[in-house]
């Protein structure tokens, strides 16, 4: 198989525990190059943890996570940093540097890794800010931004190097319909024009349907369903019916494991 035909991200036998809780139990996953792949699933199933494994922020208990031919858990710090220079990451809470204004936040990766003339830095940053509709907010501080604006600035920062892979952790939260539409277009444009592979963790099925090529449904530590968004939404399995139908009853328990309800309320006479 030629390198370009290989999946950009290949996860094999991934197993992770956090305390007593099993997060991944032998998870396998392939992310094809140049695709937009959504990872969906109930809260607390490890979607963000999966992104952390792909970027080497967390090491698994067992298994392999290959990104562009490198097994991430085995990489040393220098090799990991070299790989991360080619990966953009949009944090769930934006994680903007609060000492810097919007412009400097987006310019930060450029200033750290490329010795570019100031004019070029300025042009690149303003181009990225224009793409997310915030060129006019370049001199605002992060504390002056709304949640949705901060997310768009973080998105501009994530794409400033035109990376080979972008990981979006909840990119649609807090966006108004106009911003959501533009961000969806931007993700699609980056994918189509630059061939950037994207992995997005999201809960908004309507947005995912408009942008993703493929959806993986994560539950109980494994991928329980995968396919095109429309195909998956019409799926007949218990997993897809419960998740996309938003039903409380099904293979994914709505309630966190707990003891007997009547006992906790003291209806059986046990309460003090």
């Amino acid at each position: 198989m030629s390198r370009s035909a290989e999946p950009l991200v290949r996860v094999r036998g991934l197993s992770t525990r956090l305390g007593d809780k099993v997060i991944f139990d032998g998870l396998d996953l392939d992310i094809p190059r140049g695709s937009i792949t959504a990872v969906m699933g109930p809260s607390g199933t490890g979607k963000t943890t999966l992104l952390k494994h792909i970027t080497g922020q967390m090491r698994p208990d067992a298994g392999e996570v290959w990104v562009d031919g490198s097994n991430v858990p085995t990489l040393g710090r220098d090799a990991l940093f070299a790989l991360r220079e080619r990966i953009g990451y949009l944090f769930q809470n934006s994680a903007l540097l609060t000492d810097f204004d919007v412009f400097e936040n987006v310019a930060f990766p450029l200033r750290q890794h490329a010795r570019l003339p100031e004019e070029l830095v300025r042009n690149i940053v303003l181009t990225k800010l224009q793409a997310v509709g915030l060129r006019g907010a370049a001199r605002l501080m992060p504390s002056e931004l709304s949640g949705g604006m901060a997310r768009r600035v973080a998105l501009a920062r994530a794409i400033v190097f035109d990376p080979m892979l972008i990981l979006y952790d909840e990119p649609f939260v807090g966006l108004d319909p106009i911003a959501l539409n533009q961000v969806l277009k931007l993700i699609r444009t980056l994918n189509q024009t630059l061939g950037i592979t994207s992995i997005l963790v999201a809960h908004e099925l309507s947005a995912v349907r408009r942008v993703a090529d493929r959806v993986h449904l994560l539950a109980n530590g494994k991928i329980v369903a995968a396919g095109a968004p429309d195909e998956l939404a019409r799926g007949e399995s218990d997993w897809t019916k419960q998740f996309f139908g938003g039903e409380a009853d099904g293979p994914v328990p709505f309630h966190y494991p707990a003891g007997d309800y009547a006992h906790d309320l003291g209806f059986d006479g046990s309460a003090a």
């Binding site: 970027t55 922020q57 940093f81 070299a82 991360r84 220079e85 990966i87 990451y89 944090f91 809470n93 994680a95 903007l96 540097l97 609060t98 930060f108 990766p109 750290q112 890794h113 920062r157």
Partner: protein
Amino acid sequence: MNARFLRDGYVTDALAQIGAAGLFFFTILGAVPKSLRHFRETVRQIWFVGAMSLVIIMTCGLFVGMVLALQLYHTLSIFGGTAALGTVVALSLFRELGPVVTALLFAGRAGTSITAEIGLMRATDQLAAMEMMAVDPVAYVVAPRFLAGVIAMPILACVFNALGIFGGHLVGVTWLGVDNGTFWGNMTANVEVWADVINGVWKSLAFGAVVTLIAVFQGYTTPPTSEGVAYATTRTVVFSSIVVLALDFVLTAFLM
């Protein structure tokens, strides 16, 4: 009691913390060459932890010198030795009070803000974001603050000493009537540059390194919660105060 402490893990936790702080110190030293690429950040931090601490250092230095002169004048006058007031004030400040009080004030003013700032950066994923942008947070955030603390502390101690002597002069000469020439003459004759002044500077350097190490370590390893940041900030002041006073005894024993 001892067995209970051991069983509950207090002692082993404390030893593990000391070990981790020691390893963190070497990590910072390893990151210093890389941090020189961000020298502007180091200069900014010197301004923040040094220049911004000047008001509290100068005010406290002045009053410490004034109280010192008042107390010493009273004691020395019993033995008819008020002529030695300038010497004793200067020696007390250069050898002990200058470095120690400056370090304690520095821990309260700059150490806490370093811990809170780095702790909040941890809690808001800013450090993780730097890691994801392939920027080493130890080189970019921690090392400049550490260097700034080590550089600023001796300078602040010198300022503290100068204001302390000025305060001592104000009380001793201007108020209590000690002869001006005697005050300065005895001081310059009896205070030695290497044995007294420079030894105080060595102490300040050591205190600067220890207090800033505690501050950055507490901030960097704090649990990412508001309660975690609050505890880390408190620990910075408590640990710094204990370590400064203990280290002062050790250094004094070696430098005497």
